[in-house]
């Protein structure tokens, strides 16, 4: 999506759709996702729970195939990659899961968990090399002294420590992109910041791109200030652009609603801040996605005859740097409260 058009994106989703079968019905989880991640970029996927963030992340790292559409790795469709190229592509993309208690195999020690990929892909020379690399990785993710951790089983570690081990495990194969799927949402608030700082540091030092998935726009604002945010709603991207612009001048009504709900550190501001009132609080089910713009039954700026009939496309906002999927807005009309 535009901002560095000349260089090849690391990974690119083009018109990706994904549905799951539940018995006889088809649940359309992702619709027409277009997203590109550049080397060393930070991209935040934000949206309410169930809107398809994890599914997008899994398609991105190749754990899930799109039902239609294409995934490209450095410009090449991933389903045409074979042999060495395919192995390189698999390893270049890693994922950190949300639940620290499910992401490590309880039967193995930390040392074994890290040694498996190192040995399998010959990422280190000999036994000594593997041990040295394990030491380095544990130090890298701030699990020091490494000797205290290496022989522990996952059940002997805290949630934060486990997430660090997950990160170290992803780093064993020198990835180019890490998808962090709500990676800090299940650890104590007190250690979230240090985990986020660690991810930032890995990005700066190793040039890794990070796709940070969260339902918390405040966290996205903090983490992706130098990057971009993609806001998702019911399986579609509704707004995409540089973080500062989206936070300070949100375009799409849904993004505006999310931002107006962020509590500010200063209670004074929080109280005086105007919360946007939606026409309905109910999130529609994926089984009956509203026609036209999926947000229209809730949207305060609903325009009858436009929003409920025309499928909005992601287009450049007239007076902003971001893209939004809102028909009246991208046509240059002024948004007016419905019924006024």
């Amino acid at each position: 999506m535009g901002d560095n058009g000349s260089s090849q994106p690391l990974i690119e989703l083009q018109n990706v759709n994904r549905f799951f079968r539940q018995g006889r019905t088809r649940v359309q989880v992702l619709q027409n996702i277009n997203l590109a991640v550049a080397e060393n970029e930070i991209l935040c996927l934000v949206g309410e729970s169930g809107c398809g963030k994890t599914t997008t992340g899994r398609i991105m790292v190749g754990l899930l195939e799109p039902s239609s559409g294409e995934v490209r790795y450095r410009g090449r469709p991933v389903n045409t990659l074979r042999g060495k190229d395919r192995a390189e592509y698999r390893r270049a993309l890693q994922i950190i899961h949300q639940d620290p208690f499910a992401s490590l195999n309880p039967a193995h020690t930390v040392g074994q968990i890290l040694a498996f990929p190192l040995q399998r892909h010959r990422m280190a020379e000999g036994r000594g090399g593997v041990r040295r690399r394990i030491w380095e990785l544990l130090t890298l993710v701030d699990l020091t002294p490494p000797g205290d951790i290496v022989n522990k089983y996952p059940h002997q570690l805290s949630g934060g420590q486990r997430q660090r081990v997950s990160v170290a495990r992803a780093l064993t194969v020198n990835p180019r992109l890490i998808v962090a799927d709500e990676a800090v949402s299940m650890v104590d608030v007190s250690i979230r910041i240090s985990l986020l700082k660690m991810l930032h540091r890995l990005r700066d030092e190793y040039g890794i791109a990070i796709v940070f998935i969260t339902h918390d726009l405040a966290l996205a604002k903090y983490f992706a200030w130098e990057g971009r945010i993609a806001v998702m709603y019911l399986g579609r991207i509704v707004e995409l652009g540089p973080t500062p612009d989206i936070i300070s001048r949100p375009a799409h009504p849904y993004t505006r609603a999310l931002i107006s709900a962020i509590p500010e550190a200063d209670p004074q501001i929080t109280r005086s801040k105007q919360r946007m009132v939606l026409r309905s609080e109910d999130i529609p089910s994926l089984l009956e996605i509203p026609p036209g713009c999926a947000f229209h039954p809730r949207c305060p700026f609903f325009v009858e005859g436009v929003c409920d009939t025309q499928l909005p496309t992601l287009e450049k906002v007239p007076d902003g740097s971001q893209y939004a999927a809102c028909t009246p807005l991208t046509r240059g009309q002024e948004l007016r409260l419905y019924g006024s």
């Binding site: 399998r120 041990r131 002997q156």
Partner: protein, 395 residues
């Protein structure tokens, strides 16, 4: 495997030689107690199973002995030294010692877990009892196939049954033979065939179940269809029919047949478990790390199921034993004496049901089978704790 030849004086010698290894290492480490235990363990298992018992036991006991004195400080990696001070290259010997110590710690934790669960430990003792009975019993109580008391045969009696006496603690059977010696010698073939059947069942079920779940598609459907087909066959009647057609002169074929009929239930359970484990985040991570299907099956999925698999194997052994005894009881399998099943068959057909004198001939093998089964079932209670690192730690 012919266990008749085991438990020999050579075995005792082999066991003693093997036992010297942990003993010497322990004495050099100044930890005599585990050393002596290790010596005895090697002696016993060498005595019981010759080289097959002695050599593996060296590994286990040495691991335990080493784990007593090995401290984490012996490994530079585990010390709190700085990166520059750590030498990551370790000698082969140092690595072996480190791994042995790890193994030893696991064995110690597992045996503590085993003792902690009372019911499970009781079952374990029961199994040890049957092991000793079958391996060492024959050395003390030789097989006695000779009729006794011909001369004292009662007028008009058609058999030589006799109740327990000081000379024959379990009495005499219909031919006037010592029942105790039949119990001591008659379990081995039955137990071995049952275990073989259980192992065959488990191996087939685990491989097919894992393959069906992880590869899926058409293969999954075919395997499921076969499993469902076998499940609809009434097993025991089929066994009886087959036993009429095939001669089970070699009991191993019987074990294979039992395994071939028994795998579907366990296979479907394994398949369901693998399907659910496959969804786990750590398995997904292994896919993302491109660790390969063999690694995912052997290292990520199966370790989670090991206690489940072993417990089910034990239940398969149990089922196989019932089936074999049943077949023998119906006279569908060629008799080889001494055998618990044959004793039950003969006891019944020679009228032991109707005479108090003869009760021992029926009761002894029935109780032996029942006790063995009970030990197996009780033993499974411990396994969950023995195999699970979290439970093993006693948390």
């Amino acid at each position: 495997m012919d266990l008749q030849s085991l438990a020999s004086p050579t075995g005792l010698l082999i066991g003693a030689l093997c036992g010297l290894v942990p003993l010497v290492i322990a004495l050099r480490n100044r930890t005599p107690r585990p050393g002596i235990l290790g010596f005895l363990a090697c002696l016993l298992s060498g005595f019981a199973c010759n080289v097959l018992g002695g050599l593996p036991m060296i590994l286990l006991t040495v691991a335990v002995v080493v784990s007593y004195t090995y401290t984490d400080r012996d490994d530079p990696f585990l010390s709190r030294a700085a990166l520059e001070e750590v030498d990551f290259e370790e000698t082969f010997g140092a690595m072996v010692t480190r791994r042995l110590a790890g193994l030893g710690r696991t064995i110690r934790a597992a045996s503590r877990a085993l003792v902690r669960n009372k019911a499970g430990f009781l079952g374990f003792l029961g199994l040890v009892f049957f092991f000793v009975l079958n391996i060492f019993g024959p050395m003390v109580i030789p097989y006695d196939g000779q009729p006794h008391f011909y001369d004292r045969r009662r007028e008009g009696a058609i058999n030589l049954f006799q109740g327990p006496s000081a000379e024959f603690p379990l009495g005499l059977d219909w031919q006037g033979r010592d029942i105790l010696s039949h119990i001591v010698h008659g379990g081995r073939a039955l137990i071995i065939t049952s275990v073989q059947a259980g192992v065959i069942t488990t191996v087939i079920a685990v491989i097919l179940g894992a393959v069906a779940a992880l590869i899926g598609g058409l293969l999954d459907q075919i395997l499921n269809a076969i499993a469902n087909f076998i499940l609809t066959i009434p097993q025991f009647p089929l066994l009886v029919v087959l036993a009429g057609l095939i001669s089970f002169e070699d009991r191993f074929f019987l074990a294979v047949l039992l395994g071939l009929l028994d795998w579907p239930t366990l296979m479907r359970a394994v398949r369901a478990q693998v399907l659910s484990l496959r969804e786990r985040d750590y398995v997904e991570a292994a896919y993302a790390l491109d660790l390969g299907l063999p690694h995912i099956v052997m290292r990520e999925v199966l370790p989670q199921m090991i206690s489940y698999i072993v417990i089910n194997m034990i239940f398969s052994i149990r089922g196989a034993m019932y089936a074999i005894v049943g077949l023998v009881f119906l006279g569908m399998v060629p008799f080889t004496e001494p055998d618990w099943g044959v004793m039950i068959f003969m006891g019944r057909s020679q009228g032991a049901l109707f005479s108090a004198e003869a009760a021992s001939m029926l009761l002894s093998p029935v109780i032996a089978v029942a006790l063995f089964q009970l030990s197996l079932v009780l033993f499974t209670r411990s396994l969950e704790e023995v195999f699970n690192p979290r439970l093993r730690a006693g948390l």
